[in-house]
């Protein structure tokens, strides 16, 4: 149950942040958020996340784009057939450009919407425990706590080398 309380550990180094994540994991703490000023692959791997589902939404968008291009060009060709000599009304080689472009366009738009959806963007607030330095030069680990767990989590963050530990929402 969320109590609205969070402990925020502020770090300057990648390795100390990594220690913090490991200590939390080994103590059974699973619910935490790590803030990074840039993408650090090792940290992301340590957090051990599932792969992003963005790809599936993107794939569906691309397939819809491809299919809609086939349907649009085909339907419009037959709706007003322009018969020239023995040339086919639906001359698909000429339409491959449209099919390619709509595949990329709708795939790209789906990719953007998937990013927004899964990353919860745009967000109204910056979330509990967010510190402006997390987009600058500091790493942060934010852990939701209650009265009983706060002390244990504080100890873990402290042992891992957190330079500041702040209790927010208390």
């Amino acid at each position: 149950m969320s109590t609205g309380q969070h402990l925020v550990g502020v770090y300057s180094y990648v390795d100390t942040t990594m220690d913090g994540i490991r200590k939390l994991k080994s103590s059974g703490v699973r619910d935490y958020t790590v803030h990074m000023p840039t993408y650090i692959e090792e940290l992301a791997e340590e957090i051990d996340q599932d792969s992003s589902p963005v790809k599936w939404v993107t794939l569906v968008g691309a397939l819809v784009g491809f299919a809609s291009a086939i349907l649009m060009t085909g339907w419009m060709s037959w709706d007003w057939p322009v018969r020239i000599s023995m040339k086919p009304v639906m001359s698909w080689p000429a339409y491959t450009v449209i099919m390619f472009e709509l595949t990329v366009l709708l795939g790209g738009i789906a990719n953007l919407l998937a990013l927004f959806g899964f990353a919860k963007l745009p967000g109204l607030g910056l979330g509990p425990g967010f510190d402006p330095r997390f987009t600058d030069d500091k790493f942060g680990i934010v852990v939701p706590v209650d009265d009983s767990s706060a002390e244990q989590v504080r100890k873990l963050l402290d042992e891992s080398g957190a330079e500041e530990i702040e209790h927010v929402g208390a």
Binding site: S52, M76, L102, L105, P122, G123
Partner: protein
């Protein structure tokens, strides 16, 4: 074989905090020089707008668009600007997928250049159709007669190709900006800037969940944009190659156009970044290493373009088609010889100087060469379009098309429009990808075992 190291790219002493500070410092309110240059640009834009208004009021005749060249300077400008846009996507997407080390420092400005170049290019079909208020006829919507657009036409392919390219490039540009806008938000001191960047950064916090989806999506954008780099200019080349005009009807056009687009685009990146680096005190981040890497791209694409020019002549003679042979003799020795030899000098001969490391590492020389390449690439399109159209099959229909004052005014206006957008952009959003620059410097480690 020499390999690049991180030290070639930027000094060792750079830290995350320093990067944020230095790059967000470029967002400081503009000084007098900047405002003066901007005013000059706006004056040039006003000239372009006045020419366009006059053309709309009086008619296309004032632009000198008449037989035999109905595709004059405007379509030259269109192809030129689409080409300029290519280097940005090449640098931001293809070099991202290839993990090219020099990309991170230069891609933001290149991408901004892409978006604004495509916006500029998009104006020219509108200017060229004359009755601009009917532009929506290009969109496949049912009209009263239920007559659909012709999907067999390369001009219609262009509508789809350019719209897709513009959309994907803009989205790619913006998505790349989001983490940097969050840094700008968190460092902003004025209320207006804080509010602006808060809205634009969409609530980005750099949490691991956001990064996970962001990195996945960013990779897909790069993957989508990569074939677009190749396809868009191929489609533009088909505007010509699908026609049976001598000088146009050739299968080498797509790769030739793509290489030319990258050549002109990279040259424009240098034209923009060499002064930008100086004016915005970014010497620590954009170094000779980056400029030299781009100079090598110019060398490479210049050689491809030179080869394509030679092949065009060879195929014309090898084909035995008298119209093609005549066209290419005329191109080099006819009334447009000056345009042809300007193109050859600027695109084939001058870039040969870049074989010298001394030239490649001299910023002034690079800046001058980049301007020559831009001039040469404009003339390449002028040769292909105007010269070919004025010298088709029937000698009685041959002619000479001289660019009109209105066309020149609108061309000037297009450059000013482009620079107006670019300069506004580098003052409003971080002109370098600070988050990605942080990726390439040494990570801050305390030294604990991990």
């Amino acid at each position: 074989m020499s390999t690049s190291t991180r030290k070639d790219q930027m000094p060792d002493s750079i830290t995350y905090g320093q990067i944020s500070k230095d790059i967000t410092a470029t967002l400081a309110p503009p000084g007098f020089k900047f405002i003066a240059v901007y005013a000059l640009i706006l004056a040039g834009l006003a000239v372009g707008i006045a020419c366009w208004v006059y053309q709309i009021k009086v008619g296309m005749g004032v632009a000198g668009i008449t037989h035999p060249s109905f595709w004059g300077v405007y379509i030259t400008d269109f192809v030129f600007w689409v080409g300029i846009g290519h280097a940005g996507t090449l640098i931001s997407a293809i070099l991202f997928l290839l993990r090219a080390p020099f990309r991170n420092a230069v891609y933001r400005a290149s991408e901004a250049m892409t978006v604004f170049a495509v916006m500029t290019a998009g104006l020219f079909p509108l200017i060229h159709i004359g009755r601009v208020w009917f532009f929506y006829w290009l969109i496949p919507y049912p009209n009263q007669r239920q007559l659909w657009v012709n999907f067999r036409s390369p001009l219609m392919w262009d509508v789809f190709a350019i719209s897709t390219y513009a959309t994907i490039s803009t989205v790619f540009f913006y998505v790349g900006l989001v983490p940097d806008l969050a840094t700008a938000r968190d460092r902003a001191t004025s209320f207006f800037r804080k509010a602006l960047y808060s809205v634009l950064s969409l609530g980005w916090t750099g949490s691991h969940r956001q990064w996970k989806h962001y990195m996945a999506a960013y990779g897909f954008f790069a993957a989508f944009a990569t074939p677009l780099v190749i396809s868009v200019h191929s489609v533009v080349s088909w505007d010509f190659a699908m026609g049976n005009v001598p000088g146009w009807h050739t299968t080498i056009f797509p790769p030739y156009f793509v290489a030319g687009a990258i050549l002109s685009g990279v040259a424009m990146v240098l034209t923009l970044m060499i002064p930008m680096r100086k004016l915005m005190n970014l010497e620590n981040y954009i170094t000779t290493y980056h400029f030299e890497a781009m100079a090598k791209l110019i060398m490479f694409t210049s050689l491809i373009v030179t080869y394509a020019y030679a092949v065009e002549f060879y195929i014309a003679f090898y084909s035995g088609v008298e119209y093609e042979i005549e066209q290419f003799i005329y191109r080099a020795t006819g009334q447009y010889w000056w345009a042809f030899w300007t193109m050859v000098t600027c695109n084939c001969i001058i870039p040969l100087m870049l074989w010298s490391k001394k030239v490649r590492t001299n910023h002034t020389a690079l800046f001058i060469i980049s301007i020559f390449v831009n001039i040469g690439m404009w003339f390449e399109r002028y040769n292909i379009i105007t010269q070919s159209l004025t010298h088709e099959f029937i000698p009685a229909a041959w002619g000479f098309a001289r660019p009109s004052i209105i066309e020149m005014g609108i061309t000037l206006g297009s450059f000013c429009w482009f620079f107006m957008l670019f300069l506004a952009c580098i003052k409003l959003v971080p002109s370098m990808a600070l988050t990605e620059i942080k990726e390439i410097i040494d990570r801050p480690m305390k030294g604990k075992s991990s």
